[in-house]
Symmetry: C2
Subunit: 349 residues, 2 copies
DNA sequence: CGCGGTTTTGAAAGCGCTTTCAGATAGCCA
DNA sequence: TGGCTATCTGAAAGCGCTTTCAAAACCGCG
């Protein structure tokens, strides 16, 4: 009877496991593991045998088994309010960039500006065994931090600054105030705000607060009819500005929560026969791709989403690897001056 | 000596495992597992004891262990050419929608229109142990399908139709042809195309082919100087149209690979003193958020990304669960008529 | 109260990897 | 060549679940 070795070249019915590689290379699974994880202390000939065997078999280590054994899932989670929002997509993509370099995977989830949903998504991710978590903002479900703490994994908040938790963000109030000051320096005195929904959204809230304070500092105030809250999008911007005009006293300048909103407001202004920036100065937020191409090009507050993402990714990786990190990273937002802002036509703002 | 039970309420140093729950509830881990997975055949009292114990302990099952044991990772991967592209984000978000309902997680990766990168990202995902994979398009690295096959997981391609592989998509050539026919029906005869880079991108290629064929069917041809390939974005669109004009014979209508490109082309046209649609009709692709708000509102081919995503998600889940599926799902693209198209001014197209 | 047939239950065997620990080898010098 | 380190290597013990299998508990009925 023919005495065939049991490591025939035929494909195994199942996908190959470390045991198969070991057998084929004539070593133990321990050695296979050592070789495949690049740990030192394996003689060159064995190392090569293992490499070749793994190659031949098309061996791919089972991630779950590895995760179970190492207690590392090699993935971090991110929960953002709206996965279709440009700014968040950019952050996700830049976080992923960094994670990828450290061989980590990003798992993103959508919370839709709802604290309960955010909690649910985060829990889902936590159950998966993620090694780190990225959140947006500083307002969360009361139970969320407890759960994160219990899981023992590092967490970092983004887009706003926090004194409670590790974060990478910028001063929403401060940068919005800067925009307001810029408008006032131009001579505007009747300044309006159109923001996205502010419930459970500290960023939006902080921006409006910052503007109100900047106005107050110069003896002006943010009139209630100039403080409009709408749902996001270009349509929202149109509605918002229409609503503001309905208030009776048209502003000479507005600051919008996103460039989409600003775009919508500009459209509505034009439809009303108002010229931008002649009759109305407009400032947006985020510096979207289309903003430089609008007519007129939009003045906007550029949020360095990519930097936020990189910093957040680095922060998480560092903590996962036990390296020290700074608790708070501030990424400056920048006022990009373009042609949608000008001194008020009538001098009185 | 006090005989304390070993399941004190004090927090354990480590996070609780099934064993802890079992001890606390006075059952075996088998029963804990049965209860937590909702399998029948556990007496009500024990079931409740387990539930309470799990609750009290804040027990969260270890995903890796579960995955190892069940051979199900409960995650599917998706590799898209550009994670920041609106259409792909929408697909990802709608795939995730469906996955989430089946308790699956989506892990998305970016391939940047490069076959090698796509292979690398897909391999990375495969190593993680994903249970299914979504790709975009029908052109891939020669090794990719082999690797997927070896892993034994279901795969679905999106955005284009394929006769080789399971897919959910639409007829890129056909819908672009429809746009061309519409323009010709309006009387246009000099029709141009500005597409994104077509290397390794079957969608872009198919669209141009479709247009060329539609023209040919009516005895017209796509002049080389009217076939422009640029990198994506508004800036790309401007450059592309400028380049086309430099060809010497301006077209009376153009079809663009995305609405961003169309937007850019319209800006350039206006800058050249051409009116849209008076001197130039413009058609885009994707129906972006801003398209109805452009001046004039943009005629575009709407790709039902959300439907594609839903169908792709359902397809993968079905196959993972061993249910039968249709191999090819065609989602119709739709020509949305708005004001950027009109009969050519001079009658001769 | 005993019996056959259901339910319920727990012990134990994996799942496929990493890692410890002790034994086997190799290397070196006297 | 022998003895002593310094390297390598493999057996085996987990990691924390799920799931099989056989035993235990329960049930209704005669």
């Amino acid at each position: 009877m023919l005495d065939l070795p049991d490591d025939i070249l035929e494909p195994l019915g199942r996908s190959p496991v470390a045991r198969d590689v070991a057998r084929r290379a004539g070593v133990s699974t321990a050695t296979v593991s050592r070789v495949l994880n690049g740990s030192a202390g394996v003689r060159a000939d064995k190392r090569e045998a293992v490499m070749r065997a793994a190659q031949d078999l098309g061996f791919v280590a089972n991630g779950a088994a590895r995760a179970l054994s190492t207690r590392r899932f090699m993935a971090v989670g991110a929960v953002v309010p709206n996965i279709e929002n440009e700014a968040f997509v950019r952050v996700l993509s830049s976080v992923q960039d960094r994670l990828r370099q450290a061989d980590y995977t990003l798992i993103a989830a959508n919370a839709g500006y709802d604290l309960d949903d955010e909690l649910r998504e985060a829990t889902f991710l936590l159950e998966r065994g993620i090694d780190g978590l990225m959140l947006v903002g500083d307002i969360h479900h009361p139970d969320l931090h407890a759960r994160i703490a219990r899981s023992g994994i590092p967490m970092v908040q983004t887009f706003s600054l926090s004194r409670e938790h590790p974060c990478v963000g910028f001063d929403n109030a401060g940068s919005a105030a800067r925009a307001a000051n810029y408008l006032m320096d131009l001579g505007h005195r009747r300044i309006g705000v159109i923001s996205g929904l502010r419930k459970d959204n500290d960023r939006g809230g902080a921006r409006v607060t910052g503007i109100a304070q900047a106005l107050a500092a110069r003896g002006l105030r943010l009139a209630p009819e100039h403080d409009i809250e709408i749902s996001y999008g270009i349509g929202g911007g149109r509605d918002g500005f229409r609503q503001m005009l309905a208030g009776g006293s048209p502003p000479s300048a507005i600051i919008c929560g996103t460039d989409q909103i600003a775009f919508g407001a500009m459209i509505e202004a034009r439809a009303r026969g108002l010229s931008v920036p002649g009759d109305l100065s407009v400032i947006g937020h985020n510096d979207s791709d289309f903003s430089p191409f609008l007519d007129p090009p939009l003045t906007t507050i550029r949020i360095h989403s990519a930097e936020i993402g990189h910093a957040a990714g680095d922060h998480l990786i560092a903590r996962i690897q036990g390296r020290p990190v700074v608790r708070l990273t501030e990424i400056d937002a920048e006022l990009i001056l373009r042609a949608s802002t000008a001194p008020p036509r009538h001098g009185d703002g």
